[in-house]
């Protein structure tokens, strides 16, 4: 009885502030404006070409930004973990992007990337370009807009991934790597056969967290490009629910958010399956 009493406050809190709104959103997504049960909201979404664009854009951003973030963050974590002279200062500098709120990041980059923004003036001051050849960062086609988003997203979250990986690295004793060196391993072999396998739980955690939040990317895109220029899933949720101002679209937004939730969970489960994290748990249970 006592354990249930102890978790009761959390259960009550979640029921009121989480479970209830979630259930409500799910229910309302299956009703139309007149309160009649229907799947028309979902049919609307599945018939809308923008939804498929949003889906593929999101998938593209998730795959590339998470991959780039992981590779760079892991490299940085390995570098800082060598504890070279000045590494703690470097760590401090590398953390700065993480401390900025998303709106500030958006404002910073949109003011920087504008045609008359600080990035162009910087390049002009140092004579790389002249007034006539200013780079139109934000005017590119779909591919370059997406690349820009990936770069900015990576810039923002690499410190976050790096901190998680660094913490994991520091939890692995120096001696297992030294043993690798003694027993014939080159630096690369030690990394591949000892460090990475031992770091796997940490890598899984970092990747899951990153995949989930990458699927939910939207604010930076809206701040740079506005709505509907580069459709992604969550941006469409916000657009429908909050911006279009008609109850019909609000319900579309609810249905979309249910779909996003399903996609996020599916992606997380898929990642755990592919990375073999489930198998390991089963093995240990035996």
């Amino acid at each position: 009885m006592v354990p249930y009493l102890l978790i009761a406050p959390v259960v009550i809190y979640y029921s009121i502030f989480w479970l209830f709104p979630v259930l409500n959103a799910i229910i309302e997504s299956f009703r139309n404006v007149d309160g009649i049960w229907t799947v028309s909201n979902y049919i609307h979404i599945f018939k809308d070409p923008v939804f498929y664009q949003a889906l593929s854009n999101t998938a593209f951003i998730v795959i590339f930004s998470v991959t780039i973030e992981f590779i760079l963050a892991f490299g940085l974590a390995l570098l800082i973990n060598t504890k070279f002279r000045g590494s703690s200062m470097f760590l401090f500098l590398a953390m700065i992007p993480m401390s900025l709120p998303a709106v500030a990041v958006g404002a910073m980059w949109s003011s920087g990337l504008a045609t008359r923004g600080w990035l162009n003036s910087f390049l002009m001051t140092f004579g790389f370009i002249d007034d006539a050849s200013k780079i139109l960062f934000l005017a590119g086609g779909k591919m370059s807009t997406m690349l820009l988003i990936i770069i900015i997203d990576a810039w923002t979250v690499i410190p976050f991934v790096m901190i998680i990986l660094l913490a994991g690295l520091q939890g692995i004793g120096e001696d297992v790597r030294e043993a690798g060196a003694i027993f014939g391993g080159t630096k690369f072999q030690i990394l591949r056969k000892i460090t990475i396998p031992m770091l796997k739980p940490t890598i899984t955690t970092a990747m899951i967290l990153r995949i989930i939040s990458a699927i939910q990317i939207w604010l930076i895109i809206v701040l740079l490009y506005g709505f509907n220029r580069l459709p992604v899933l969550l941006e469409q949720v916000v657009l429908n629910y909050d911006q279009l101002g008609a109850e019909y679209f609000e319900r579309i937004g609810l249905a979309l958010s249910v779909l996003v939730a399903i996609i996020v969970s599916a992606a997380a489960v898929l990642y755990l399956k592919v990375s073999g994290s489930f198998e390991k748990e089963v093995k240990q249970d035996e």
């Binding site: 004793g173 001696d175 297992v176 030294e178 043993a179 690798g180 060196a181 003694i182 027993f183 014939g184 391993g185 080159t186 072999q189 056969k193 000892i194 396998p197 031992m198 796997k200």
Partner: protein
Amino acid sequence: MATLELIDIAKRFTKKVWGVKKMDLKVEDKEFIVLLGPSGCGKTTTMRMVAGLEEVTRGTILLDGKDITDIPPRDRGISMVFQNYAIWPHMTVYENIAFSLKLKKMSAAEIKERVEETAAMVKIGELLKRLPGQLSGGQQQRVALARALAVRPKLFLMDEPLSNLDAKLRVTMRTELKAIHQQTNATSIFVTHDQSEAMSMADRIVIMKDGEIVQIGTPDDVYFRSANMFVAGFIGTPPSNFFNVECEYTKENISLKHSHFTLEIDSMKFQELGKYRGKEIVLGVRPEDLLIVPESKAVFTAEVLVVEPQGSHQVVAINLKEIIVKMVVSAETKVKPGDKIGLGFNIKRIHFFDSKTENRIVFKGGV
């Protein structure tokens, strides 16, 4: 099999902190060398330099005459057992032992044979499919040992390998390690701070203090002919007793005056004490060389403070105001705290140290 030579090696960590100040050592083929000293004496640093895990600040390391000072650990032909085992938790016991063999590109059949043979030698033949997390500390230690042995190294390094085991297992493993050494004959260096471990395993013991060698010698050398007061006070359970005595010289005799006793010794046998006439020197006596004698023959009498039974013998502590003197007596001796006992010295086995340099005073006549 190999010889190892350390020529004037030193390790500086920061501007003022030296891990090893100066070290010269020649390890013979098949020899079992123990580096012994209190923590911070530089013994582990020395071993890590030999392993290549630590760069040397100065000096040369020769293995079989070949300079290995600057080559990476994997090309040195060494293997090592770490204090915390450092076996890889994500690999099975088999994979742990086979790791280095695979990197050497041995054939699968050869690897299998070598792993099984080595595992049998350290008695973990049935554990090959397990993961380290499913093993006890002692078993993990054996895996670390098997992994190091499987390489058939020229030089076998062990960094306090027994310090994480419980007391009983530690003593068992000592014997096994020594037996394995007799079987493989690999030149070995063993680091420990436990002097009884060092005594029981070493061919020669290298005693270190503050980054320098204090004495190199066989277990008998360091015990019976300790080079200075540090060694005499470090080796032995309990270690040597020290008495500050004043050295008075007469024609026939030398009298050594202590606040509690005066010991007369033969001036012929201890001629070298001549130059200490009228000065203070240190008398060193091993606990078993202090004897309980009838009061009529006693050099001095004293009161027993504590008796510590050890089964095979007893340790008796005597309070002499400023110092506590410890002696080892047979299990049958009947003594209890508060008893007045008469004490004598085993003159053949007493030692003298210069009170300034703390070095042993050597006598031509032996002792």
